[in-house]
Symmetry: C2
């Protein structure tokens, strides 16, 4: 928002503040103003653990930050003008951003931006305007081949649903010991966020989990709680191990 | 030049066009206009194979692109406000840029740039405003430690002088079979550029060299000829092997 306001007239088409960012909007909640050029969406949000479940088809093209869930879901390309995302969640090592741009967007008049920020330059030079980030690109290529060999987005979408269903099922069957603040369809398939009855138990949960090799479960520093990030690279075995731990922890502490 | 003109009033303080970029200027050839904020320099230029030998001390701070020779020479920090460079020559894997900024520069009023291009943001966040390029940073850390263990810039400056002296010596002793278009002090210590009597011989030189494992010797596509890039990672043995090959090639073809 802050950066784009420098370059154009920008407004918030839907605001999740009142719901503490615990859900994403349905299409009919989004309020577009006349002459809107595009609608920016973030298809998965890792702090709150929410995902966009309803792709807005409102007559304006979508520009989507898909850093945290591309390659785990099908994309309605007919609605999208630009999809972009940092590599480090579902694609490869950090230091690389994948940008998919509709060709017609490249024909629009550019703003006065540094050359490097002009997508037309990258298109014209096959993404080699400068020396690119070779290692992250190399590894991303390996990952993409692996995705293809395993069955592509179809398969990884299925796996993502299975992974998160296992954890949300455990949370919802815990009689309130575990509590996910995110509402039904908005629940992220990549970042399962939940709380325990109090912060003391959360600290103990994290410490005990670490002893069993279950790490990086701390919620984002801005919200606290627990967060299980289960990107494409997480095997079902990891999810099952966490679910078993959660079950045992609840049995000993509730 | 092109990008900076969008943001400010920029001019060329010395122009190497007439000399086909075969040398860099001495300090007294640089013509500064009144109210100049800084002088941008490129301390080594890889296409022409030239280096800046005379650090301009003209009463304005220097901003230097040192991509292709930092960590191979001492820097007069009293003259520099900003030194920057891509990692991929003398620091580590591509996908990383090292920027050294004088603190007082961070206090100047910024232009309307995207947040990411504001050095103050990177300073305030310890270079972790976003997820950085972890792997290139990790490897760069290893390289810096290796530099330190080996004797630091002192040692790598000595090595760079020894490497290039070996090749320039071979060229200058070749009775004109090899010809370096760059004048004395301007000769790069990182990129030794030379020509053979004709392009046919240059092609044969490159093909024969490759058979002996001497690769990546093709001059930049914009100028042709031969270019031996001998960055800090090139051992003296590699230089000696190339010099021996050059000697033998000349003996068979002159």
């Amino acid at each position: 928002m802050k950066d784009s306001q420098v370059y154009g007239n920008v407004y918030i088409a839907w605001d999740g503040t009142d719901d503490q960012f615990s859900r994403t909007p349905s299409e009919n909640e989004i309020e577009l103003q006349p002459d809107t050029r595009y609608l920016h969406i973030t298809t998965n949000e890792t702090i709150g653990g929410v995902r966009l479940y309803d792709w807005p088809d409102l007559g304006v093209p979508l520009v989507g930050d898909m850093s945290s869930d591309y390659f785990s879901r099908h994309i309605p390309w007919n609605l999208m003008d630009v999809a972009y995302g940092g590599a480090q969640k579902n694609l490869g090592p950090s230091g690389l951003t994948l940008v998919i741009v509709r060709k017609s967007v490249l024909e629009t008049h550019p703003r006065d931006l540094p050359t490097y920020l002009d997508y037309r330059v990258h298109y014209a030079t096959n993404s080699r305007f400068n020396t690119p980030a070779i290692f992250p690109i190399y590894v991303a290529g390996k990952v993409l081949k692996w995705y293809k060999d395993k069955g592509g987005v179809d398969e990884f979408e299925k796996l993502s649903i299975a992974r998160c269903a296992h954890l949300y099922g455990m949370i919802d069957a815990s009689n309130g010991f575990y509590n996910c603040p995110v509402e039904g369809e908005s629940r992220s398939r990549m970042n399962v966020v939940f709380r325990l009855p109090n912060e003391g138990l959360e600290s103990k949960f994290l410490a005990d989990a670490e002893l069993q090799g279950l790490v990086n479960l701390t919620g984002h520093r801005s919200v606290g709680g627990i967060r299980a990030s289960i990107y494409n690279s997480m095997p079902m075995e990891g999810v099952e191990k966490l679910a078993n731990f959660m079950d045992n922890f609840r049995a000993s502490h509730s």
